[in-house]
């Protein structure tokens, strides 16, 4: 059942039509169609497809940066390892020299 009509109803009808008249968007959505036709074939523009495209772009951008970072870390690790080996060699050499000195001192004391 529709509401009963009285002069106020007609006003409300008119005012609703006025209040809810169409408005123009601030963006021109027809530009979207050019973008769609130039970037992706029809049938490939689902949200999932667009997400996959975005993920691939992010991966392509972030992957080389990740590789460079990994290589730099590896190089620093190699350098640290080489430094440690060098330090151990020096220590070992000094210990050997000290040992030889001690042995010589003991030999000299024994001969006296």
């Amino acid at each position: 059942m529709m509401p009963p009509h009285n002069p106020d109803d007609i006003d409300l009808d008119l005012e609703l039509r006025q209040a809810l008249r169409r408005v123009e968007p601030s963006r021109d959505f027809s530009a979207l169609s050019y973008a769609l036709q130039s970037t992706a074939p029809r049938g490939w523009t689902s949200s999932r497809g667009l997400l996959a495209l975005a993920a691939a772009i992010v991966l392509m951008v972030s992957l080389p940066a990740g590789v460079v970072q990994y290589q730099a870390r590896q190089q620093r690790r190699e350098e640290a390892r080489a430094d440690l080996i060098k330090a151990l060699r020096i220590t070992r050499s000094k210990l050997e020299k000290t040992q030889q000195m001690v042995v010589r001192q003991l030999d000299r004391r024994n001969t006296l």
Binding site: D9, E15, A19, L20, R22, F29, S33, Q37
Partner: protein, 164 residues
């Protein structure tokens, strides 16, 4: 100029207005409009006539708007203090009264709100609205009746508040 671009130009204000009046949120309405046209782009081969395209756009836009509103989970609650006093009635449209009505319409639950929009923005009759939203004509008429009654009551309350 290609066919799809023409279709978008021709119907963008209809789709955007439905979304904007329904959601009262311009960026969200633009997102919904873009989604509707993206879907149209995928399915345009199956839509042959102008009437079919218009029907399809109204149907998809209605459902997308209702989904967006449900996801947002916000229905504007209207306090009378938020509404400015409408100017004295004249023949010319009163922008404050229009704004007040839009705000009151925005407080309706999703389905009746869309019914009111299709009725008054798109000038559709109840049987067309029923076909678009996918519900019985009697339900559409019931939503319209209740919504108009509610709108009238709120306007009356507002008048009383202003007179006091």
């Amino acid at each position: 100029m290609n066919g799809f671009t023409d279709i978008v130009r021709q119907h963008q204000s209809m789709v955007f207005s439905l979304a904007y009046h329904f959601l009262q949120d311009r960026p969200l309405a633009e997102d919904v409009t873009q989604d509707v046209f993206l879907q149209l782009y995928r399915e345009q081969d199956s839509l042959t006539t102008e009437n079919h395209i218009r029907f399809w756009l109204r149907k998809v836009a209605s459902h997308r708007c209702i989904d967006a509103a449900r996801r947002r989970k916000i229905r504007p609650r209207l306090g009378l203090e938020e509404i400015r006093e409408p100017a004295a009635r004249e023949n010319s449209p009163d922008p404050i009264l229009s704004e007040t009505l839009r705000k009151i319409v925005a407080t309706l639950p999703e389905t009746p709100r869309m019914v009111v929009l299709l009725r008054y923005q798109e000038d559709m009759d109840p049987s067309e609205i029923a076909e678009t939203i996918g519900m019985p004509v009697a339900t559409v008429k019931s939503h319209l009746h209740r919504s108009l009654t509610m709108l009238r009551e709120k306007m009356q309350r507002l008048k009383k508040e202003i007179v006091r």
